[in-house]
Symmetry: C2
Subunit: 340 residues, 2 copies
């Protein structure tokens, strides 16, 4: 693909191939620190006296309120999760608000309240913040940035580097993909019909902690947000130059998400989640981890969905229910912008 | 003042009284952590193995490019400065971009390059980031959030709490107020005439380091950004319940800023800066600190501008050139939004 030029398009923000190009051609060209170069969910830092994980995310979701949460709970959970999948205990959060003039203070209050509740549930402290107001029409109601610091214990392994991944490893997923994206689509009220789909937006740290307590053979973790499960799977294949095989028959399914996706021509594997984690672990511990995942609230539909293969390095393949195989392509275009 | 209700106005973002109300009535109501409650530039955290300073800022400046910098250099310097005035050595930065569809990649590249240059000059590493794209018309070209982590040495004193401030302490300022705000106003091209005013946007850490190296009698530091010098002065008076007397004759002046302010009816004390720091120190060390400040590039016009008084607690007073006295009010309305 040739070097990026011209103007920013919506695809530059979708988590897929175009966004990768923007990152590599513009951001990495100048921000060439090895830590940001890892492109993991959080950077692992040494402050001179101990290791911490550090991450940031901006949230521009539309609409601000949706079944299962709002931009505030999403912003806190999103950052908690980036820390959690790095193996860090979420400790401190920053919050930055960009508010459009005319925004209702009652709505802002509801959102701020949700943020405080989610942070408190997770035992994380909101310790620093910033507020900017822009004129009417200069932003879409409210954008929130959260950054976070997590504490790593001494024996932590770098869960996002992927360098421990090897053929034979099992791939686990804690529940059906696509619930967040489809909940947002519903909240946009573009259709007449109504479903009961609720966003999976949640703090994954309790699940991650359970997994890391029970096994020291976890080789990789990543929460599957923008670009969905397919994007994480492809990232592993590309980064580790390994093959991946996902078994469609084992993928957890939310029937309403599946039906809505079929109706609209979407593939749930590419739809955003806000409470789903991909875990890669040694086959020896896979069942143990699965049992641990199922004991948690957000892991009760967990499954072993596939494995790392020596075959077809760099490619992710789906074994379909009908026995066929097809490549899980990287995401190019995206019909669902602004889901986070 | 009664509890905040209704809708967000531009004044809720100006750093003055209305913003304080928004913070206390909405944010502090739910984010009631003692650390964020301090409302200092950066929170000082203990991660279990050492103290760090942590801060965040979003930048919505308009226009994106201005004499002396752009939104990128501003975003990096702004966060470096919040860390520096907490007595911390800036170490790690996060960057979050919210980009409007259609934004020129060439402009984004210039901005990203500036960020990398400023961070490198300061010896700080950009280690984690995030990119969101919103549809055309849903944000104003580009917003940037930066958060930062600074490292504190063992003997650091809490420079932003103000609890060491006492009557007789001297107040120092490293140069003439108002350059940033007036440079932005010029860049908006609302007037026919042209000045040579350049934003003072710079990294204050070298100056701060010089000061802290030479004196252990520094009692307070704060960079004077939104709301200007007047807002910091008022904050000290209110927080420490102490009086403040500023001597107009000693205030550093940029003649072009003064002329433009007079023409437009502004007071430079209320205009934003991005490279100005207020230092409060024991009178015994004031001259020493002044000399040290003047040896740095951004402190060559430094001055002792006033002192902390036991009289009129909670109020800041300006001794005018003509020998009169007037109260330096807290900022209410603001004619210059989006200067950072």
């Amino acid at each position: 693909m040739r070097k990026i030029t011209g103007r920013i398009s919506m695809n530059h923000g979708n988590g897929g191939v175009y966004m990768q190009k923007l990152i590599s051609d513009v951001f990495m060209r100048f921000f060439n620190d090895e830590l940001i170069g890892n492109q993991s969910d959080a950077a692992v830092l040494n402050t001179g006296s101990g290791a911490i994980a550090y991450t940031t995310d901006s949230f521009v979701i539309e609409p601000l309120f949706f079944p299962g949460g709002n931009i505030g709970s999403l912003a806190v959970c999103g950052t908690l999760n980036d820390l959690a999948v790095s193996g860090a205990k979420p400790a401190f959060l920053s919050v930055g608000f960009i508010i459009e003039e005319g925004f209702k203070i009652s709505e802002l209050t509801r959102i701020v309240r949700s943020m405080a509740i989610e942070a408190e549930k997770a035992g994380a402290r909101i310790v620093t913040g910033d507020t900017k107001v822009v004129n009417a029409g200069k932003c879409d109601k409210l954008f929130i940035n959260t950054s976070g610091i997590g504490v790593l214990d001494e024996k932590h392994i770098p869960l996002s580097s992927g360098k421990y991944i090897k053929p034979g490893d099992k791939i686990l997923l804690n529940g059906p993909p696509g619930e967040h994206g489809m909940a947002i689509l519903q909240a946009r009220k573009l259709f007449d019909f109504k479903t009961n789909i609720i966003s999976d937006c949640t703090n994954l740290y309790p699940l991650v902690k359970q997994i890391l307590n029970i096994s020291d053979r976890v080789h990789f973790m990543r929460d599957a947000t923008r670009g969905g499960v397919a994007t994480v799977i492809n990232e592993i294949a590309r980064k580790c130059n390994t093959g991946i095989e996902i078994d469609e028959a084992f993928l957890p399914v939310n029937n309403e998400v599946a039906a809505l996706c079929e109706l609209l021509g979407f593939d749930p594997l590419y739809i955003a989640n806000e409470g789903k984690v991909i875990v890669v672990a040694d086959a020896m511990d896979a069942e143990l981890i699965l049992t641990a995942m199922r004991q948690t609230k957000c892991g009760k539909n967990a499954a072993i969905i596939g494995e790392i293969t020596a075959d077809h390095p760099g490619k992710a393949v789906l074994k379909t229910r009908s026995g066929g195989k097809r490549i899980i392509d990287e995401l190019l275009g995206d019909q669902l912008p602004r889901i986070c």
